[in-house]
Amino acid sequence: MAIRILTDQPPVETPSVSTRSGVIGTLTRALVSNRKALAGVVLLGVFTLVAVFAGLIAPYDPHSLQFDPILGPSREHLLGTTGNGQDIFSQLVWSTRESLVLALLAGVMATAISVIVGVSAAYLGGLWDHVLNLFTDVFLVIPTLPLMIVVAAYAKGGGVGVLIAVIVITGWSYGARQLRSQALSLRNREFLEAARVRGERSLYIIAFEVLPNMTSLIVAIFLGAALYAVLAAAGLQFIGLGDTNDLSWGTMLYWAENNGALLAGSPLWVVAPGVCIALLGAAFALLNYAFDEISNPALRPVRARRAQAASSDQPT
């Protein structure tokens, strides 16, 4: 036990919550001032709006087969039509709903399991810690792609439920490890001891003292899980898992592949949903980086300053 006398921190602290408006205010300002965050928020916002107002944005019924197939982009059909005579743009717009919901739902569920398993392992300790760790490690090690393909083969379609289940099962273990580490490090912080000495129940401590101090990690893990979900869902739907009659970017790719879109001369049928998947994934990735930077000032980009003699070869 070294008595660490706190001397000479830099005279200005960089607090995590910097105004009277509290967490929300800081978060908003941080998101707005960070370029990556702004880009991510804008992208996500656009997709959300499209999903919510799909009915107003899409010009036609996405299922309707009334149009001529494989038309190129034109004023009536912004992205052309599919091999079955559906308007690609309308399909794209309506698909945003399912793709976004899938990503968010699967992301939230995977994160929830990560939190429960990770924090429990840290708090129960002992044998439980070992058991839960083993459990986590097994899932970490399972190769996701082969697993998904095997499940797809057995499920022979299935619905959105199967899709979400596969994504969650393959996606939760990564976060659990990190959460456990952080929970372990928090465990010995004095304010938790103070809570215990005050007489709080264990469950209260975990829910209201530990978890609030882990929010930045939990959000980061959620964003990572959502990103994973976007890509995994697309991949799974592409190989035919989930209901192929659903409207989703992944299923669009499935049908495009089935109809040999690229060869048939309607590349937009493939490119459009592909770009959307990439952009939604990018939105989550950008937000993830931005969040890291906001919560850890050391990662912020150092803006070059006027040439100064004062430089050092060792960090202080």
Binding site: A2, I3, R4, I5, L6, T7, D8, Q9, P10, P11, V12, T14, V302, R305, Q308, A309, A310, S311, S312, D313, Q314, P315, T316
Partner: protein
């Protein structure tokens, strides 16, 4: 005041931390002199700038901290303007730094001997046999059995680790050793032991020492001169005994009164009311005036210079020339 050329001559040094909210002046116009072989203690509390000053002298500052102005003349050369290459020549050979916590400063996966060798090799080419000899010499100098050259830091006690740090600093017998609270992580008994060792070494080898600490009583028996810092400025500086027996600056007086004694009558102490100022918006005039029990009207508006008195320097209007 100094007859021969001082080893260290700091003039009007200013160090800023550049933050989003503006530049914070952590060290404000500090001027100090250190003679050959002299032991200078720098005392102050959190946020007074003493560690920043130390790092500035050793040229170890990294962004957002930077030296804004002033000079640090070490053996006649201005360290502030030296480039990395030139610094490397004098670093460790002419001056060395001992950090606060050896456990953080020592590499946990290398033996002490390997780290000593590293330090030597970085600054001079020495034949292996001579290096080994030097390592053993320097370990004996600080009172550690040279057997421990093969030990890892975690195998040594706290006191021994700090001594190993000091051994590393002395490997080239530098003329100046800068120490940042090297004893604060130790127990009282180990602290005293280490301080005695440092003082002995200083007498034997003859290096000048700058010793930064928050604990005045610790340094009182070992330093020749004492500088008291507050809010980035030196508020009092003089011979140690003079500062102790006759503190002039109200802050120094307040600080002296914050140490309960284990001998003598039991006095009721009051410490110093208030807290150190926010350096982003320091108080006008004298920086201590909001907390000063002897404040005068002029203190609110006029920043006092370091008034020169017969035995020491005091940055306080109470001691303006003629009083």
């Amino acid at each position: 005041m100094i007859a021969t050329a001082p080893v260290l001559d700091i003039r009007d040094l200013c160090v800023d931390y550049v933050t989003a909210r503006g530049a914070v002046r952590a060290v404000d116009n500090v001027s100090l002199e250190l003679a050959k072989g002299e032991f200078l203690g720098i005392v102050g509390e959190s946020g007074c700038g003493k560690s920043t000053l130390l790092f500035a002298i050793a040229r170890l500052l990294s962004p957002p901290a930077e030296i804004a102005s002033g000079s640090v003349r070490f053996k006649g050369r201005d360290m502030v303007t030296l480039g990395e290459k030139e610094l490397r020549h004098i670093r460790w050979r002419d001056y060395a730094v001992v950090m606060q916590s050896a456990m953080n400063a020592l590499n946990p996966v290398m033996t002490i001997g390997a780290q000593l060798k590293d330090a030597i090799e970085a600054h001079e080419r020495m034949p292996t046999a001579r290096m080994r000899e030097r390592c053993q010499e320097v370990m004996r100098l600080v009172g550690i059995d040279p057997e421990h050259l093969g030990s890892y830091p975690h195998q040594l006690s706290g006191g021994m680790r700090q001594r190993a740090m000091i051994a590393m600093a002395l490997v080239f017998t530098p003329e100046l050793v800068i120490m940042d609270e090297p004893t604060s992580a130790l127990d009282v008994v180990a602290q005293r032991s280490l301080m005695l060792q440092i003082k002995n070494l200083q007498r034997r080898i003859g290096f000048a020492a700058v010793f930064v600490t928050h604990d005045m009583s610790l340094v009182s028996h070992f330093s020749d001169r004492l500088a008291v810092m507050y809010a980035g400025q030196v508020v009092e500086i003089g011979a140690t005994r003079v500062v102790f027996e006759d503190p002039k600056h109200p802050y120094t007086k307040g600080l002296m009164q914050s140490f309960p004694s284990i001998s003598g009558p039991k006095l009721h102490l009051v410490g110093i009311a208030g807290s150190p100022p926010d350096l982003l918006r320091p108080p006008s005039g004298c920086r201590f005036h909001p907390r000063c029990p002897s404040v005068m009207p002029q203190c609110h508006t006029e920043e006092p210079p370091l008034y020169v008195r017969p035995n020491d320097l005091v940055k306080c209007h109470l001691y303006a020339d003629g009083r």
